[in-house]
């Protein structure tokens, strides 16, 4: 008896791989730690610790910190895909994927599309925690969705970059420590938690050039004005450029493996 197979295509293979990643996370809920526990913890901790010192109160601090933590969480969620890819490559299961008559790119694509779910969860958790702490943006719900999508797109664009790091690095540990460092430096050396004016001059220059600052500024502007701003457009262009530049590089590094 023969088994009926049809020529599988990239889309079908990719969705199967994305489903596999989803199953993996379902079986290991601790993989959701960084997208659920971390934003809640940081939001509470930073909000109540620094709110008084920086903004004169938690309520006044929330418009600053909610977008800040949101983007920080995106960074850390995106960095997870790098170490995930490295771990996958190191395990025997990747050999099996490669020996199958399937679209060559599907495991990588599946990982990156599966990550979108993590990013969505991270966004919802961050914004909901903010809401419970008393954050009440004065714009309509539609704009909240817009900033959520902008954050998710940013996170997704960055996950290509981290995937590249994961593919080039030799060990999963290297990827993890690199990701953690990048996440800390980029999120703290920005306007995520403190006003830029409070920084020393050299630090201000660095923070201004930090793309994280740009993304956070754009989100704050949308939330403050309830309109699509120039800086939001800039973020959109920035995100898409990252994908355009890094997607081929990542695919190249993947082929090389």
């Amino acid at each position: 008896m023969t088994i009926q197979t049809h020529n599988s295509n990239v889309l079908m293979n990719t969705s199967t791989m994305a489903y596999r990643n989803l199953l993996k996370t379902m079986h290991n809920p601790d993989q959701f730690m960084d997208v659920i526990v971390q934003p809640v913890m940081f939001m509470l901790m930073f909000g109540y610790l620094f709110g008084g010192a920086i903004a004169g109160g938690v309520q006044a601090y929330l418009p600053t910190i909610v977008p800040g933590i949101l983007i920080q969480t995106m960074l850390s969620a995106a960095s997870g895909s790098g170490s995930q890819i490295r771990e996958d490559l190191d395990s025997g299961v990747f050999d099996r994927f490669k020996s199958l008559p399937m679209a060559h790119i599907a495991p990588l694509a599946g990982q990156l599309f599966g990550d979108v779910l993590r990013l969505i969860i991270a966004t919802i958790t961050s914004l909901t925690t903010g809401y419970f702490m008393g954050w009440r943006p004065e714009v309509g719900f539609g704009w909240i969705v817009v900033i959520g999508l902008l954050a998710i797109l940013t996170g997704w664009a960055l996950s290509w970059l981290f995937a590249l790091v994961g593919l080039l690095a030799k060990h999963a540990e290297t990827v993890q420590s690199f990701s953690l460092m990048t996440m800390l430096v980029l999120s703290f050396m920005s306007n995520a938690f403190v006003p830029l004016k409070s920084l020393t001059k050299p630090l201000q220059v660095i923070a201004r050039f930090n793309p994280v600052t740009g993304v956070i500024t754009a989100i704050r502007q949308i939330l403050a004005t309830g309109s699509w701003t120039q800086s939001a457009l800039l973020v959109l262009v920035f995100d898409l450029s990252i994908v355009v530049v890094f997607a081929p590089l990542t695919v190249w590094a993947y082929d090389r493996n």
Partner: protein, 311 residues
């Protein structure tokens, strides 16, 4: 018309840096046979297998699977074999059923067909009771069975097994052998690597002995054993004083010198018909012997003779 070979390996070579890991290896595997790649650790078995299964690019040389070049017709060639790697190549984070489902889908089965095949394989490999448990709770043997089940989703005509029983306990090992034999009965061609001689002896129709990246010998286990000398007659002379006499008396009866280890004598037999005159000569000289045995050469002897130990 010549029949298409299941595997055709010609002049395969692979270097890692300056080290030549696989050195100009060529061999064929006939459809329906179990072909064993035998060699010590680090001989280049797995590297050869990885090149045959398109996981690794060869520096030079060619591999054809049922007549299809693995480079030029990679996808077609890949659709014709199943692979079970040395390290369990299943997803440890998800259940057995999910593994089978996902790999079925990736192999191009429809959702309905994937479900049906998953159920069949779970039953066939006695994994039904643990189908939805996380693989973390699986024993080594169960994992290996699942691994093999995944390789068999499309009922491939050719199955590659990389050290299928390494690390398994004797009982699970025997079960695995039985599973492999059953595959062959169903018409599959099996290519396996192993460092266990008894495994090669028990399973393989033909063997290729590999050492230091080179193909040392190809043949049936019987042929290989013949290579290292035929049957041996071994016995012990009861009286120490009679040992010298025994050697002298036997000299005209044997073609190769009698080997003496203490009171034990070993004689290589070219033909079993030599046995009677030898025993008659011993009897005539009134030499008392004990612990007589006729020993067939084992693959151990083949292995020791053909391969040069790295340690």
């Amino acid at each position: 018309m010549t029949a298409i070979k299941a595997v055709e390996v010609s002049h395969l070579t692979k270097k890692f840096g300056h080290q030549t890991v696989v050195n100009d290896i060529s061999f064929d595997v006939q459809p329906g046979e179990v072909f064993g790649l035998l060699g010590p650790n680090g001989a280049g078995k797995t590297t050869t297998l990885r090149m045959m299964t398109t996981l690794l690019k060869a520096d030079t040389g060619q591999v054809k699977i049922f007549g299809h070049d693995t480079i030029k017709e990679g996808r077609l060639a890949r659709s014709m074999f199943g692979l079970t790697g040395q390290y369990a190549s299943v997803d440890a984070d998800i259940s057995a059923r999910e593994n089978l489902m996902i790999f079925s889908r990736l192999n191009g089965l429809s959702r309905q067909a994937a479900k049906q095949r998953t159920a069949e394989l779970l039953a066939e490999f006695s994994l039904e009771h643990a189908a939805d448990d996380p693989l973390k709770n699986f024993s080594g043997g169960m994992r290996r069975r699942l691994d093999l089940a995944v390789s068999l989703i499309t009922r491939p005509a050719l199955i590659f097994l990389d050290e299928p029983t390494t690390g398994l306990d004797p009982r699970t090992r025997t079960q695995m052998w039985e599973t492999i034999r059953q595959l062959v009965r169903q018409g599959s061609t099996v290519l396996l690597t192993t460092q266990y001689l008894d495994e090669a002896d028990a399973l393989a129709d033909r063997l290729a002995v590999i050492d230091h990246g080179k193909l040392v010998k190809v043949g049936t286990p019987a042929e290989l054993k013949q290579q290292v000398g035929g049957t041996k007659l071994v016995f012990t002379v009861s009286e120490r004083a009679q040992v010298a006499t025994a050697v002298r008396v036997l000299a005209p009866q044997v073609t190769t010198a009698v080997q003496q280890i203490g009171q034990q004598l070993q004689i290589s037999l070219n033909q079993l018909s030599q046995l009677a005159p030898i025993l008659a000569a011993i009897n005539q000289a009134k030499i008392e012997i004990s612990q007589l045995s006729v020993q067939e050469p084992s693959l151990d002897d083949v292995f020791m003779t053909l391969t040069v130990g790295k340690n």
